[in-house]
C-alpha cells in the first residue's frame, strides 16, 4: 500500500498506510487526551492546564467538511520542490474540519481538482498524495479530495 514511497521530509510518523487505509496520526496526550497535528516534536502537552509529557499516536478521522479552500496560481518560493524538467502546475489547498476532533487540518487537494469544484461545507476525505522533490524523487504526503 505504501508503494515504497518514503515519507516527505519532516513527516515521519505523521501518517500511516496500512490494511485499513491511509490515516493521519495526531499525537494524543496520555494524561488529558489533547490532540496535536502534526504530532509535537517535543515532549509536553499543548493544553496549558496539563503537565503531561507523553504523547501516543492517534489516528484522526479520514473524513470531514471543507472549512475553506484556495489555490496557488504562482510558483511558491523554495523550499517548495521544483522537480527538474517539469512545468509548475497550480494546485488547490483545503482546510478540512474534522467533526469528532473539532480540528481543522490543511492539505493540498488531490491533483486535477480545481477550486471551481469545491464548496465550503462539502464532505472531504483523506487520500495519500505524492510530492516530487527538487531531485525528482517521489515523496509521500497527504491530500484531501471531495467525497464522503
Amino acid at each position: 500500500m505504501t508503494d515504497g514511497i518514503p515519507a516527505a521530509p519532516g513527516t515521519d510518523a505523521w501518517f500511516h498506510d496500512g490494511p485499513d487505509g491511509f490515516v493521519l496520526l495526531a499525537g494524543r496526550c496520555t494524561a488529558c487526551g489533547a490532540l496535536s497535528f502534526p504530532p509535537r516534536p517535543i515532549p509536553g502537552c499543548p493544553n496549558p492546564d496539563c503537565d503531561g509529557l507523553e504523547q501516543h499516536p492517534h489516528a484522526l478521522s479520514t473524513t470531514g467538511s471543507l472549512w475553506s479552500y484556495t489555490d496557488a496560481r504562482y510558483v511558491p518560493p523554495p523550499p517548495y520542490p521544483r522537480p527538474p524538467d517539469t512545468e509548475f502546475s497550480p494546485y488547490a489547498l483545503a482546510a478540512v474540519e474534522l467533526d469528532a476532533e473539532r480540528m481543522i487540518v490543511l492539505g493540498q487537494v488531490a491533483p486535477g481538482v480545481a477550486v471551481s469544484e469545491l464548496t465550503v461545507g462539502m464532505p472531504m476525505r483523506l487520500v495519500p498524495g505524492v510530492l516530487v522533490s527538487s531531485a525528482g524523487v517521489e515523496e509521500r504526503v497527504w491530500n484531501w479530495r471531495p467525497g464522503a
Binding site: C32, N47, Y69, T70, P77, Y80, L93, A100
Partner: protein, 398 residues
Amino acid sequence: MSRPDSVAVLGVGMHPWGALGKSFVEYGLVAARAALADAGIGWRDVQLVVGGETIRNGYPGFVAGSALSQALGWQGAPVASCYAACATGAQALSTARAHILAGLADVVLVVGADTTPKGFFAPVGGDRPDDPDWLRFRLLGATNPAYFGLYARRRMAIRGTTEADFAAVKVKNARAGSLNPYARFRAEVDAETVLNSPMVSDPLRLLQICATSDGAAAVVLASEEYARRKQRDAVRIRAISAITPEYPRTVPDFPYLASDSAAISPPASRTFRESLAWSAYESCGLGPEDMDLAEVYDLTTAMELDWYEEIGLCAAGEAEKLLHDGATALGGRVPVNASGGLSSFGEAIPAQAIAQLCELTWQLRGDAGTRQVAGARAGVAVNQGLFGHGAAMVVAHA
C-alpha cells in the same frame, strides 16, 4: 490629566516606503532623525534604544537596535532588539513603554526598518524540518497569500461577502494612500482594475494583497513628566496589548498546518484576533465607541473587513454594510486606514506597527494634512503576525 498607565508620544518620523534597494539601516537612520527632530530633542538625550528586528538582513537585522545605535553614533544608551513577526514594531513599543512606566527611562527611541525581497516571503534558508514555517512551504506550498485566500473564502461562505466588496476596500485605501507622502502606492484605483488584476490565491487578486516593501518608522516615547517639560504631551499611548493566543486556537493561522483540537478543551469566548483589541480596550477603560479612527493590518482587503468586527467597530456580519455606508472612509464616522494602510504602503515588517502609531499621532495632533480626520481624539491600531503574535494599541489625547 496624568495617568499612571500612559506614556507620551514625543515625536514621530518615517522614511517613505518603496522598493528602493538600500540598507535597512539607512531607512531607519532617516526615520530616527525625523522622530528626534519632531520631538525637539537630540540623539544624546535618548536613554534607551529599542529596535524591531528584521530576519532577512543578516546579523545587523537581528541586532537592529545596535545597528541603528551605531549608525547614529555610539552614545552609551542601553539597547534592546526584539522580534514578533508582523507585530514586531508593537512589541518594540511595548518594551519601550514598560521601561518608561517602570521608571527605568524617561526618553526612549523606537525604530523599525526593513529591506525586503520582491515577491512571496519565504522561510529563512536551510533545511529545517522541525520549523513549521519551513514545513508549510516544503509540504503544502502554502504561501502567506494562500492562508489569506483561505480566510477570504471562509468570509465569503459565512457572510456572503463578494469580490466586489473586497475591491471596494482597495478603492477606499488607495484613495487615502494617494494623500500620504510616505505611502509607496499613491495612485487611486478603481474597482474594475482591482477585479481584473491577476488571481494569486483564489479568491484574492494581486491588488487585494499587500506587497512587500522597504521602509522605516520611528517614534520617541517619554514619561509624562518629561513630555510636560518639553510641552509635547498631547498624545498618549493608553494601552498596548502584545499577547499570545489562548488554547485551543480554533483557526488554522499561519504558519501552522492545523488548528488546535477543541474536542477536550472548549475554545475561549473570544478568538485571538478579537482578544487583541479588547484586551487593550479593557486595560485603559476606553472602548470601540470612543475610537475616532483605526489603523488595521490589511494584509488583504478581506482581512480589513474581518478586523472591523474583531475590534468592535460593528457587530459580526456587518462589516460590508459599514464599508458601503462610507463609515470607514475618510470623512466617515470612524475612518479605517486613513494612512492608506498596508494596501498603500506594502509591508516593511518591523516598521509597520510603528508606522500605525505615527499615523495615529499625526491624526490626533491635527497634522495629517489632506487626509486629516476632523476632531480625532482617540484611535486604535491592531496587527497580527505568524507564530501566535499580535498586538493592539490605544492612543488618545491627554
